[in-house]
Amino acid sequence: MKHSPRLAVGLVIALIVGMAGLLVAAGFDVQRAAWALVNGSLGSWYAIGSGTLIRATPLILTGLAVAIAFRAGVFNIGAEGQFIVGAAAAAATALSIRNAAPIIVLPLVLLSGFVAGGMWASIAAVLRVRFRVLEVISTIMLNFVAAYLVSYLVRGPMQEPTHIYPQTQTFGDAAHLPRFSTGTRLHIGFAIAVAACAGAWWAIRFTASGFRLRVVGANPTAARSAGLIDVDRVTMRAFLVSGALAGLAGAIEVSGVTYALYENISPGYGYTAIAVALVARLDALAIIGSGILFGALEAGATAMQRDAGVPSVVVSVIEAGVILSLVALGRTGIGARKTP
């Protein structure tokens, strides 16, 4: 059976109707919920800057991480774990360097998140390249391990000095990312995320590595038989860069928003990232837009929970709906995939 546009449109309409129907059936005031959703994400400059764009920052970076992996035919579902490990490493750095200027501390904090995320991804990368382990399974297993690792750290060696709360102590001022202006909570991490997308776009389009990435993703068999491309090496690299970007997102989250490491530091950014990447059709520049879209959705959902009592987990339903609609339309940007 071929993709039929009419069928796909039907699916999308069914999803929207189903969504609204779900809220009505559950007894929520849909009008009020919709108002809270819009107002909480786009209703004021404060909502845009301190709500939407702050939420968009980790989503853009993890979305970019997922997109780069998917472009290379690597199904990295592990951005969540790489984000968490990146956050933990950044926190460890931020807490161990004292009495130093921000210009020294901040780059080290971000770098440690970047490196840790890449190292965490390297486990799944080696398992795939050397042992042919399906990365979907391995990255998800590693997500759970990462969550338990942080749970251990914030209740054990990294717990705050009073040993009451499962979190680290608050970072010193030198490890706080600067904000754009005094009236907003928006930090320069957003600019870093946008710059990363621009850089990735350029690299994928205009460099030899980017070309190899695209070829391997489009058709690994052809890339291998052409002889000039080491497929495993390209896969490995894409996986590492992907993990590093997700780790950087974690580092930015702890040094820009929370200033401490907690359990559940990520409300599922790594999973939302898949929707972000697919909506952008894996295009690095488009990810800025789709990241902001989903940032608005998440910020709006928080307002919706507060003002209309609609559980914010409903966002997962919307994200799943978006992904499935794109899948139905055959517009995911993923090349014909062969069994790994």
Partner: protein, 304 residues
Amino acid sequence: MSSPATAFAEATVRTATPLALAAIGEVVVERAGIINISLEGIILSGCFGGLVGATHAGAMGGYAASMLFGVAAAIAFALFAVWLRADQIISGTAVTLLAIGLTGTLYRTLYGTAGAGLSIPTTGPVPIPALSRIPVLGPGLFEQPIVTYATYLLVPLVWWWMYKTHAGLALRAVGENPVAAEATGIRVSRMRFGAMIFGGLTGGLAGGALVLAQAGTFAEGMSAGRGFIAIAIVVLGRWHPLGVAVAALVFGGASALQFLLQALGLALPYQLFLSLPYVLTLAGLAGMAGRVRAPAALARIEGP
């Protein structure tokens, strides 16, 4: 309290039950050439179905509803993966995400945010007369909830169906070479849909077992990666029903190890035990590298 060895055997079988159920369905699905990444969502739907059914119609109603909910999630995945021939990994991930969102939303709506202490009718262990009195292993194997006995029956049944019937042969043909299978008159899509419905039944029942025979309550996201572990178990069991049953027991044992080690009084962080099944999955998959062969058509989109 019984001896640590008995407790260990009992906990092994108990924790292995939902894994074995989910994995036995996944064997059938994968032998039809589909990798069911939505299994996690199917189990979670089954958990929620178990809760809804049990609050309205008792524990047995819970099991029935868990299978119904599991099948609903399986059909959602099959619509995309089989009917539309969409990428199985992406659509499977999306269906899992959908299940997380729907069960979470409905749970908070129907039972409120303070539902954590919710207790529902459960099915306790039913000792089988003579057999449960075998020393050490008896209580472990034969003093279990009813759903475990159902699993004991299901494993040889699936083995028999898959290897001794024409339909089972057809299923395996579909997973190896769908084009050739279609040419001999096998309805490939119908076969795959059927396999998915079976996968939904057992995956949903696995969720029901988690709620009704283990936890005694529902928690958001309580499937906790078991769907993915079950997929790994299928690899470790070499796509064979009996191998899968053994692999599920090994995993149950790894999870039950925490009770044994706690009984021995070892002061290790509990997170270490909790992450053990996931680490073991990784180690197991790496160890099987190059020694197993997946159904040839697994996860391939092209076909008749």
